[in-house]
Symmetry: C2
Subunit: 377 residues, 2 copies
């Protein structure tokens, strides 16, 4: 492939194509090679993909910054965005993929790898042929959500197994987004489910609407909101207390796999939220108690499970065609994951597999300390 | 100085003297140069000092490992130590210094720098002349404790301002410790205060004594214990719940200065202690609530203080001669600390200064987020 041409198409800041391309991983999907950039480098987004045989670039999804206070965070973030209003949309707790038509529709993960299972589910659940026939050079940005996915298990009312929510539609190569209004209309036209729109407000006037959305989402145990300029180019997120506590509980259920990376940032989110929103001491005390329980209980449970000789790890259920599920396990295997299958059965013509991603770091560290091993930190 | 000779005397694993000595910092104390190793390198302990004019090496104090469970942690740690019993001594929450006679007695910090204030206090409070006349090539390892020190502020019953506890006596150059019995007898002979000895027990039999010591210390808000082989060579520590929560509260009172480094390790200590010692759900719930409050309340207070325009930082009170206090502020200044003096007065013939070590990272990060700044983590 002509690396210099791709360097220019990507708008990379690297002086030399080799400086950028050494960071790309090469994989194949159904015999076709593709190159994925697993981390942001030289001004190119994480997850950017090149498929040289089809001369295609699929731009990575941008990292969305976060505000820690609503007032003046919202007004300050959109101050120079030149947007009349901002759209307040729900942020969903699921698995973020970009779906692009590269000869055929493929679902790429945040890191730029094809997930065969998500690809198969997207082809079943979304009218991709119609959409890509009309909009071939476009990427659908979607969240795979629900209790039965290989990546997340968050429950959503009305979703028994899994579903997609399309939250963005972008130019495949430039990453330029459709406006919020266009995207919502397109999703309606192609019958794609999309995140709830809580409303629109002028940036200087949005705090009350966002606070009320956050209150509702928090009460329902949902993640939070993304605020978007009308043209879709400026995005910022803000999340709920229940999301922070849920993420801490998730992290500390496997403390040596996720704990260190997760804990500080979630505590900081909690502290700013509490400083802004918890008017009285009782509310703050309750938040602190929930925070402590989110951290400590799952960690103690993990230690007791290892002590009892049980496998620890994240449990998932997936359902779909037998071939899609085989491809999923090959894909997880490629990522050097240790999987334990707990059940594998047929239900209503679909294959249903329950499995655990074995958390070897947490298992081994916990066992070491339980045997009396010492720690120097 | 003859670097190759020092390399050999230190028993360093570096092939070349330059590989080790590039890591030493050079300072002076009262015109005399000394070299301090601020981090462990090439098999040489952190804080090791060379004073070439006096041909002296002061070996760094070893890092003491920690067990996370008492059973089988204690038995396992001392399994091959060949010790008949272990001594269970209190670990104090203070400022750890080594005091050695290098022409004159000097107090060296963990990183190997001379602290002029601690030096002056040690000369006033400990009979150093008598001791070093008899034991010139020896290091006293002591903790400066009490509410009035420039480094820690932990309250101890019976200590109104500050005092020393001598917890170890070692050969200055080799670092070889005196046995526990010898050291305790020497401290008595020279009238040095020392940490409480809870008792001695065979390693396989010590859990009950340690648990009971930990319960007492926890109830008194004290730090924990160090378990020592009879010959003083094998040391391991274990700390109380109140210590973990106190350290978290300290860390999150200045979240962007200490929070990230502190939080994970303290949570892990808590989780293993709870898994071993918290028999029932109520006890675990109470621990979790205290943990959450230790983390969240001081962080929220810090945010509200910055919002109100107040200075945030650790507050300290010191008392002593005017010259010693001037030397202390020069020393803190050398470490690029920003100090705000809150009061400077004379009391009972001593100078007493109250000051704040201004926490610029926390102040600036909090102000940035309160103004609406975004976070990418």
């Amino acid at each position: 492939m002509d690396r210099d041409a791709y360097l220019e198409r990507l708008g990379a800041t690297a002086d030399d194509a080799a400086d950028l391309f050494e960071h790309f991983d090469q994989r194949t999907v159904e015999g076709r090679p593709y190159h994925a950039l697993p981390d942001a480098r030289h001004g190119v987004e994480r997850g950017t993909v090149i498929v040289p045989d089809d001369d295609v670039v699929v731009r990575g999804y941008p990292s969305i910054p976060r505000i820690l206070v609503l007032d003046p965070g919202i007004a300050s973030f959109f101050e120079d965005a030149g947007t009349e209003t901002i759209a307040i949309e729900e942020k969903l707790n699921g698995f973020n993929v970009r779906i692009a038509d590269v000869g055929e529709p493929l679902a790429f993960t945040r890191s730029g790898y094809v997930c065969p299972y998500t690809t198969s589910r997207a082809r079943d659940l979304l009218s991709l042929e119609d959409f890509f026939a009309d909009h071939p050079e476009t990427t659908l940005c979607a969240e795979l959500i629900g209790p039965e996915t290989p990546y997340t298990t968050h429950d959503y009312a009305g979703i028994d197994t899994h579903d997609f929510r399309v939250f963005d539609i972008r130019d495949r190569e430039s990453g330029e987004p459709r406006s919020v209004a266009d995207r919502r209309a397109l999703c309606e036209a192609y019958d794609f489910n999309q995140p709830r729109l809580f409303g629109r407000a002028a940036p200087g006037d949005a705090v009350a609407t966002v606070r009320s959305a956050i209150d509702d989402l928090d009460a329902a145990g949902r993640e939070g909101v993304v605020l978007k300029s009308d043209d879709g180019t400026k995005l910022v997120k803000y999340t709920t207390e229940s999301n922070h506590h849920g993420e801490l509980a998730y992290a500390f259920s496997l403390p040596f796999d996720h704990g260190r990376d997760f804990v500080f940032s979630r505590v900081i989110r909690e502290a700013f939220q509490a400083a802004e929103l918890d008017e009285d001491g009782d509310r703050l005390r309750e938040r602190a108690h929930d925070l402590g329980e989110s951290i400590l209980r799952p960690a103690v449970d993990a230690i007791r499970d290892v002590d009892a000789g049980e496998t620890i790890g994240h449990r998932h259920t997936v359902r779909g065609s037998s071939a899609a599920i085989d491809a999923l396990f090959d894909h997880l295997d490629d990522q050097a994951m240790t999987i334990e299958i707990e059940s594998d059965r047929c239900e209503d013509g679909e294959r249903v597999v329950e499995f655990v991603k074995v958390a070897e770091s947490s298992r081994d560290r916990i066992a070491y300390y339980l045997e009396g091993g010492t720690r120097t930190e």
